[in-house]
């Protein structure tokens, strides 16, 4: 008995004392970080999942909503417009991001080689990114008017080919899609340009010199040295831009309001419409949960590629 009382751990009294223990106290920051995480990210997510299970149109008070299981998910999956909007969004994102990559890459390559006026070029090429999307949308809606500046610029190019240069940028279903893609390209090529410019700047010049000494031509150096080494930058640009482009919304609202018909209705706009115009909260929540799963798997795929690329390129420090 006596021995037992002696070896029993002494319990400090009170919460403060408990917290003050080394093994507890060092966990406090983690608790706070995790708490913030739960509050900021997990809570709205859980709420969204909860709402997605409800039968709830917001034109009825929330008090009348009830859990109806996965009905909303079934309806989202069964809704052709959801799939059309999703497909359209991938098409927009694919076209826009491809153009942004090619243009941004070419511009970065040219500016990287330029000796004079580099700073000026960089400043000019970065302006579009700084412009507020609403302003971009407004400006483009004026540029795209069928008797407007863009068609006037195109007229001398198109007329010799027998094409009337009154492209209906905002009302022809396909032209309107490209109107949105081009507005996005105008605004976001800046970003890919910036990413690639820093990518080019970070390429070790010795590698290129080594290839030159070995007799590689400019094209061979570009194709076999620069391009593969810029792969991380390319992946970063693709992931960032794709993430953004999949959320394409402003231009679709400002330029065409999803029209004509629904030919420029992106998935973000579809969601906005379902929730904020049609008040279909449960349906919208289910759709956004599905999209979250889809998009996050895409993004993680991209990040996985990036990490793998990085690991391969990493130079161990301090050889020997």
């Amino acid at each position: 008995m006596v021995a037992e009382t002696e070896t029993a751990p002494r319990r400090p009294a009170g919460l403060t004392a408990w917290l003050a223990q080394e093994r507890v106290f060092r966990l406090v920051p983690f608790v706070m970080v995790e708490g913030m995480f739960l509050l900021l990210l997990a809570l709205p997510f859980v709420l969204t999942i909860y709402i997605s299970l409800l039968r709830w149109r917001a034109n009825r008070p929330f008090e009348q909503a009830y859990v109806q299981g996965f009905v909303n998910y079934a309806r989202v999956i069964g809704e052709p417009e959801f799939w059309w909007s999703l497909g359209r969004t991938f098409y927009f994102a694919g076209a826009a991001v491809t153009l942004e990559l090619v243009l941004g890459f070419s511009l970065a390559m040219l500016v990287h080689q330029a000796f004079r006026g580099r700073r000026l070029y960089i400043t000019i090429f970065l302006i579009p990114m700084m412009v507020v999307p609403v302003v971009v949308g407004y400006n483009f809606s004026m540029i795209y008017v069928d008797s407007g500046p863009l068609n006037q610029i195109l007229a001398p190019i198109l007329t010799p080919f027998g094409v009337t240069a009154r492209i209906r940028w905002l009302s022809h279903p396909i032209a309107a899609q490209w109107a949105i893609i081009l507005a996005d390209v105008w605004q976001w090529t800046s970003l890919t340009f910036l990413i690639f410019l820093s990518g080019f700047a970070a390429l070790p010049p010795e590698l290129i010199n080594a290839a030159r000494v070995m007799g590689a031509s400019r094209w061979q150096i570009f194709r076999r040295i620069q391009l593969p080494l810029l792969k991380p930058a390319i992946i970063i640009a693709v992931v960032i831009r794709t993430m953004e482009a999949l959320k394409l919304f402003d231009q679709a609202v400002l330029l065409t309001f999803g029209g004509p018909g629904d030919s420029t209705q992106t998935i973000a706009f579809f969601l906005w419409r379902q929730v904020w115009q049609f008040n279909k909260y449960g349906f919208g929540a289910a759709a956004s949960v599905l999209l979250l799963l889809l998009f996050s798997s895409l993004i993680y795929g991209g990040i996985y590629l990036l990490v793998r690329e990085r690991a391969l390129l990493q130079q161990p420090e301090g050889r020997g």
Binding site: R57, A58, N59, S171, T256, F257, G258, G259, G261
Partner: protein
Amino acid sequence: MKQVRLLAPIALCLALACTPAQAQTLPGDTVEERAINGARAYVEDHQLQNPSLTILLISLFRNAMPAYAQQWEELTGIKVNFIEYGYTDIPSKIMAEAIAKTGQYDVFNHFPYVVPDAAGAGVLMPLDDYTERGRPDFSGIEPALRAQQRYNGKQYFFLLDGDHIILVLRKDILDLPGAKEEFQAQHGWEPGCPETMAQWEQLASFFHTKKGDTRWGKTFDQDLYGAMGYRAINFSYRHFPAYFGGLLFDQDMNPLVNTPHGVEAIRAFSSIVQYMPPDIQGWGTPQIYPFWASGQAFSVMSFPSIVGYGNKNPQTQIVGQQLSCIVPGVMRDGQLVRRSPQAAGTGYMVNRHGKHPELAYYFLQWFTGPQQGDVAIADPQGFWDPMRRSNLDNPAIVEKFGSQFIETTMANTKYAISLLMLEGNYEYFNVLDKNLAQVMQGNLTPEQAAARIERGWNSVTDDVGRDYQIESWRNGVASGAYLDTFQ
């Protein structure tokens, strides 16, 4: 007997408690006076310090509104603040308030068709108890416009905008020497305001002129489009009922669009597009108004404020050349049926979750009252359009709009109808818009579109709740909001 004995004291209590309140009408000879007195009394009774109201305002009115806010503050000591948003954003703000119940707004400023969803969600204050005491005056407002202020038997909305669509023609083109005679020889009637949509299309076709052509002694130095109208997504639905000329559903909420009559309406709606500017499907007001004012079209079907724009805008080329027309109609069973949808129509609602709904109500009654409302309509900075009989005789309003326009728009008011006053109406509208666009793009025939619209509308009805919708629809039709009745 036992029951009666139990109920009697309760009934007596209720009667005693309610009777004085019901009977009590606010003092004042005019609508505006009663509103001012009501507001003052409310502030006094509740001993409010620095009372204020916040309006969720359509940003278009940011220049015109502060003068009235100041006036109200001088009259009552109640300060009025504004939170501005574009009109496309406001419905979502109202619905968010329905859930969040923050009370940060006292008054919502939007269009009548937002009422069903908002009232259904419980964010709008029914105003009947207040009107009982404040006794607003809606005389001189045509029944359909008046009916728009109510939903399912309750008043939620105070209208201050006769925003039903009209047709405007170009007088100067009509008057070109020989034009009228040539037209009459071709079509057998003297050109002018058309009676029917078909006649409008004849006009559009006849006056549609290519750049460089010389007709009636005039060489056209730019294209003259025969017609203009709203054909973009989010706009088509505001005009389509004019081509349909009747109730869109029967009394059991079965859509009536997939009928020979509906198909014809769809055909007419898209057929005239061939005389419109090629980009019309992408145009909203910011494109349509300046284009019209630049003189490049012969006719336009639009919100009535386009006439003021055509006369007053600094860049306009068509001052004094606009001929306002009553909306053309369609023939149904041998009868000409004209229907002018209330395409927007600014008005005001009270937030149920606001701190002082009653106080907010008094602002509505004052601001939209027969005298005060006319002041606003006459305001050169405002976008409120004539809507009361009294507007015809108001010199300031006549000065602003021109008497020909006022007479026409007031005549047009007789044919004004509500857009769908149903919950989920945005979704009904969207189904309509999308399918009309497909027809205009040549991807669907009017018959196919009619069938799709019918299917789409039925699925919205089922999703919102068919029984509920049937009841609302019957109430709306009975209130006269659509002029037509069930056959």
